[in-house]
Amino acid sequence: MTVVAVAVPAQRRTGVLRSARARVALGVVVVLGLAGAFAGLLSPEDPRAQTARLLTGPSGAHWLGTDELGRDLLSRVLHGIQVDLVVGVAGVAVAGLLGVLAAVLSARWAAADVVAQRVFDVLLAFPSLILAVAVAAVLGTGMVSITVAIVLSQAPICCRVVRAGLLAQRDRDYAVAARLSGVGPWRVLLRHLLPTALDALVVQLVLSLSTAVFLEGGMSFVGIGVRPPDPSLGNILQESVQYLTVRPSFVVGPLVAITALVLGFTVLGDALNNAARRGGSQA
């Protein structure tokens, strides 16, 4: 008695790009990503080269104008985006890896769970900028400190997201079924539980990127991040604010870039979240 399985028509996977908002956000992120990646090629001038034309407004030669040392603002903003993306991607990637590692160990051993959660409680208790000040106090200023600050502030969040996913599934029938059929605990954890838990992590990573940009901006703005003359969105913004009354257009470039990056990542994260939930309910 052979019963032939009849294929249920596969449900069309509802994609991330279903909403216009998500498509715009992805567009913004891609454009800024390309701008950052090819900052060297796209910049009309050396972002550190000083000229005599101080604090000029936007013109044909300097699309965004020049700063107080006569440097081309467009070039500086493009390089600033690059710096932000480098520290953001590096920091968030490391945070994600650490988070997954800690979550898997926590799900495997109760003792590891207690230790990891208490350490993360402490880290999460500090506002991220305060944490960043502490990091800068130890490691000094610069891109490495920013990256470390991003890791310290985001790894606990990533860990909690993954851990919650693992724990929520642990007593599901399919996990119990796997255990009862003799599958070892590591394999249950990595093959059965982790893949589903990673859905939520992808969403969190994108949201963390927006926090990373924000954190870089904040650190450089208060002077413990990227130090001039190296450009970063944060320190350009900080300089521009000093000349807000003299040359209001100065602030436009860095402000728009930061806003666009943070907003782009946030909206994209939201869209991913919705897509994951829709997909999850079908699965």
Binding site: T2, V3, A5, V6, Y174, R179, S181, H192
Partner: protein, 602 residues
């Protein structure tokens, strides 16, 4: 039918390009209970939604009409529709838990419904709400009005839902699977209530269900639906006793019944030692406020090699807890499990894991949604030391054939299979390690009747062919009776009765078994199987009165609630004792309540 209050004429409903309902006709008169019966996907619920113009956005009525007192509901404006929904037509859903707002009191729920349909002042509404609760048979309505839904049991919640639907004195009441989420003994009361509503309030009741027993017990006329069409329509006696359409005939044949001859089950080895011994098994959970919940209370039984032991009980009886303790999914609080004389704990040797396997109730939840079927079946093989890739692949093919699936499907994922097919995969996975003891925890409860019958056949066939010993757990006595040699009846964690399947269902010793049997839905509408005195008072709520007495004392039809001279049931707990050779019951008055309707057929 000119006196019909609701008439559905040649109704067609499409979801996208798919026709869900294709030319359905029926009419209901005031005071009548009409049953619509069909399996999943038959379009029975779509009809109800269309009658309220509540089809989801993807669904469209493409032909025909729904007439309420002669008015086409398609012509109604939004305002008129509001009066229709919950006004002229009331609706009761399957799940009474998710249909009530946990934050609002029962009184608020009723008040809202009454106010929405403009029923009087606050004081008048309050009086009316009390009346409604009385009407649906909720004791102490004044107090209940102030309480929130979580204080009520499942059956009481469903009664509140019915009270809500009746608040606006609807002409038609749609009940969509109203008893599917309830225990049989509770469902009986809810169905009796629906019948009474039709009779006393002259409401037309449309009862939508997959359960032929529900229709037989409640309805006067029945519509049988299949893939969107009406295959048969007529008086309940005609359709259920003399079905004309082959589909109805097949459906009726597939329903497990208590009054059919028992199938011959072979293969039990009486001489040898028991394969599984459960002695004094208890499991308690600690609640949030430190209180203890006993879900399994000192249960002892044994299973011989080759035997199928059926375990029957309602929700909260501890049957799944027992199954999972034996399977090793969780530890018991007290007592011991022995398998071939060897102690069983949650930490087991690979050999013990291999020998004992579990088939889960829900075939949707027990397969990993992203894992290919082949991989899922290979896992236990790999875990039990089958290293060779080819050998594993061969065994997967063999397993799929064994459970009646095409081996080609091994590259597919669970979402591509129907419920019955998934359950076959679940069985294949359990068989992968060639177990000696197969535990089936409600393996057919979430399946349609016709699929259910095929899965049961498969299990019996596999048992014979592979010489399996089985622990078969279900809430449905009729299902258990078909596949088991012996049956154990559990009630709120305690073993009530244990005996051979035929004798136990024909001449039950324990009053609880008697009530279970009389509550079991039968597809025979002519059988007057429900004497009033067997309707249970109250219902099991998972928190039985712990103490010295019999756990069933407060609901027992021959216990102290009914008879003053039976204080002993409250004072002394009856031991499980042998009343006839091989028949055990835990009752002081075992065998005194009999149920002569069913002839012994074993």
């Amino acid at each position: 039918m000119s006196d019909a209050v609701l008439e559905v004429r040649d109704l067609r409903i499409e979801f996208g390009a798919r026709t869900a309902v294709d030319g359905v006709d029926f009419a209901v008169r005031p005071g009548e209970v009409l049953g619509i019966i069909g399996e999943s996907g038959s379009g029975k619920s779509s009809v109800a939604l269309a009658a309220l113009r509540m089809l989801p956005a993807t669904g469209r009525v493409t032909g025909g009409a729904v007439l309420l007192r002669g008015t086409d509901i398609a012509a109604l404006s939004e305002n008129e529709l509001r009066d229709l929904r919950g006004g002229e037509i009331g609706l009761v859903f399957q799940d009474p838990m998710s249909s009530l707002n946990p934050m609002l009191s029962i009184g608020r729920h009723l008040d809202e419904a009454l106010r929405a349909h403009g029923k009087g002042s606050a004081a008048e509404r309050r009086t009316r709400a009390t009346e409604l609760l009385e009407l649906v048979g909720i004791p102490d309505p004044e107090r209940r009005l102030r309480e929130r839904p979580h204080r009520l049991s499942g059956g009481q919640r469903q009664r509140v839902m019915i009270a809500l639907a009746l608040a606006a004195e609807p002409a038609v009441l749609f009940a969509d699977e109203p008893t599917t989420a309830l225990d049989a003994t509770t469902a009986v009361g809810v169905l009796a209530l629906l019948k009474r509503v039709a009779r006393e309030l002259d409401t037309a009741v449309v009862l939508i269900t997959h359960d032929i027993g529900v229709v037989a017990a409640t309805c006067e006329r029945v519509v049988v639906m299949r893939t969107g069409r009406v295959v048969e329509h007529g008086a309940v006696e005609d359709v259920l006793l003399r079905p004309q359409h082959p589909y109805t005939q097949g459906l009726l044949a597939a329903v497990p019944r208590l009054d059919t001859p028992l199938p011959k089950l072979s293969g039990m080895d009486r001489s040898t030692e028991p394969l599984l011994e459960v002695s004094g098994l208890s499991k308690t959970y600690r609640g949030r406020h430190g209180q203890r919940f006993t879900v399994l209370d000192d249960v002892s039984l044994s299973v011989r090699p080759g035997e199928t032991l059926g375990i029957v009980g309602e929700s909260g009886s501890g049957k799944s807890t027992l199954a999972r303790a034996v399977a090793g999914a969780h530890a018991a609080t007290a007592g011991a499990l022995r398998f071939r004389g060897e102690e069983l704990t949650t930490k087991r040797s690979a050999e013990l894991r291999r020998a004992i396997q579990l088939v889960f109730q829900d075939p949707y939840a027990s397969l990993h949604p992203r894992m290919r079927i082949g991989t899922a079946l290979e896992e236990p093989l790999r875990a039990h030391g089958l290293r060779d890739r080819r050998a594993r692949a061969d065994r997967v093919v063999e397993l799929l054939r064994e459970v009646g699936l095409d081996p080609e499907v091994s590259r597919r994922r669970p979402a591509e299979f129907s419920g019955g097919q998934r359950q076959r995969i679940g069985i294949a996975r359990a068989l992968a390690t060639e177990p000696d003891l197969l535990i089936c925890d409600e393996p057919v409860s979430s399946l349609d009747v016709s699929v259910q019958a095929r899965i049961l056949d498969l299990l019996v066939e596999l048992r014979e062919r592979l010489g399996l010993t089985m622990l078969f757990i279900s809430h449905d006595l009729a299902v258990v009776r078909q596949v088991s040699h012996r049956i154990a009846v559990l009630y709120s964690g305690s073993l009530m009765e244990l005996g051979p399947a035929g004798a136990l269902t024909a001449r039950p010793l324990h009053p609880y078994t008697v009530t279970l049997l009389s509550a079991a839905p039968s597809p025979d509408p002519s059988a007057d199987r429900r004497p009033e005195e067997l309707l249970l008072r109250g219902e099991a709520n998972g928190q039985p009165a712990r103490g010295t007495g019999c756990p069933f004392a407060n609901r027992c039809p021959i216990g102290p609630v009914v008879r003053d001279d039976r204080g002993i049931c409250r004072d002394r707990r009856p031991e499980l004792s042998e009343h006839e050779p091989g028949r055990f019951a835990a009752c002081h008055f075992a065998g005194s309540l009999t149920r002569p309707m069913i002839e012994e057929s074993a």
